[in-house]
């Protein structure tokens, strides 16, 4: 009996420590904080109910990311693809005053992420931001390592186009606004 409560305590602690990364993954996938938080909440409940299936000693972060990813796609299928998604991200972005550069930068990037295909987005986020290896990312996405690599390359090229990284770094906020306008036309 003492063992059971000890296990659940550890599980909760491990879950809590993985939550910030899990939430960042959710925001990257959804492009919106409120929907991302709902997704994380669903994931936490799912993970809790099937905690027995988590093998101790394996990577709990990868396990949780897999649950969240599956939940994301199952919600997407249930709802049908919402065409309005990208528009929502844009309208929220354009309402941000340019002098909030940090916020602007985040919204810019999220808007660009929202424009690339789901499979490319998850690949680049898992490997380049979440710190997973190609192998782990392939396992989470249930595909081959080579597929992950080519998705990342395509994602990088597309994001590069969308964000025009060099210009933004060189010329600052003004070119950021220009990039927003450019992206609006491009979408």
């Amino acid at each position: 009996m003492a063992d059971a409560s000890h296990d659940s305590f550890d599980f909760k602690k491990q879950l809590l420590s993985a939550l910030p990364s899990l939430r960042a993954f959710a925001v990257s996938l959804c492009g919106q904080h409120d929907r991302a938080d709902d997704l994380v909440q669903e994931t936490v409940m799912k993970a809790w109910s099937k905690q027995e299936s988590f093998e101790l000693g394996t990577n709990i972060k990868a396990w949780l990311f897999t649950i969240l990813r599956n939940e994301f796609y199952s919600q997407l299928r249930k709802r049908g693809r919402e065409v309005a998604d990208t528009d929502e991200v844009y309208s929220s972005k354009l309402s941000v005053h340019p002098n909030q550069l940090g916020q602007m930068d985040m919204q810019d990037f999220l808007a660009a992420l929202a424009q690339i295909p789901d499979d490319q987005r998850e690949a680049i986020v898992l490997v380049c931001a979440s710190g997973f290896s190609y192998e782990e990312a392939a396992e989470i996405c249930d595909c081959k390592i080579g597929t992950i690599k080519s998705r990342i390359n395509r994602a990088r090229n597309r994001l590069q186009e969308l964000l025009d990284v060099d210009n933004v770094l060189e010329f600052g906020p003004d070119s950021t606004s220009a990039a927003v306008i450019k992206q609006s036309f491009a979408s």
Binding site: L19, P20, V44, V125, V127, C128, A129
Partner: protein, 70 residues
């Protein structure tokens, strides 16, 4: 900043080397910045409360089961 230049997790043994040097890639750097910015926002209260509730419910259930066993 310098720390971010390094990958948190090195590729597992047996996995191939990256085809691109993500560490010096502008896109990857911005993506990592975005990611850590969101991570640093902290955990929303409702998620912490949810975990507390799940934990309490489980403990209550366990103690009930134990009482029955006794």
């Amino acid at each position: 900043m310098v720390d971010r230049q390094k990958r948190d997790t090195p590729p597992l043994a047996g996995s191939s080397e990256p085809t691109t040097d993500f560490a010096t890639d502008g896109i990857a750097t911005r993506l990592r910045d975005l990611f850590s910015e969101i991570e640093n926002e902290g955990i929303p209260d409702k998620l912490v409360h949810l975990l507390d509730k799940l934990d309490k419910a489980e403990k209550a259930q366990n103690s009930n089961e134990n009482q029955r066993e006794d």
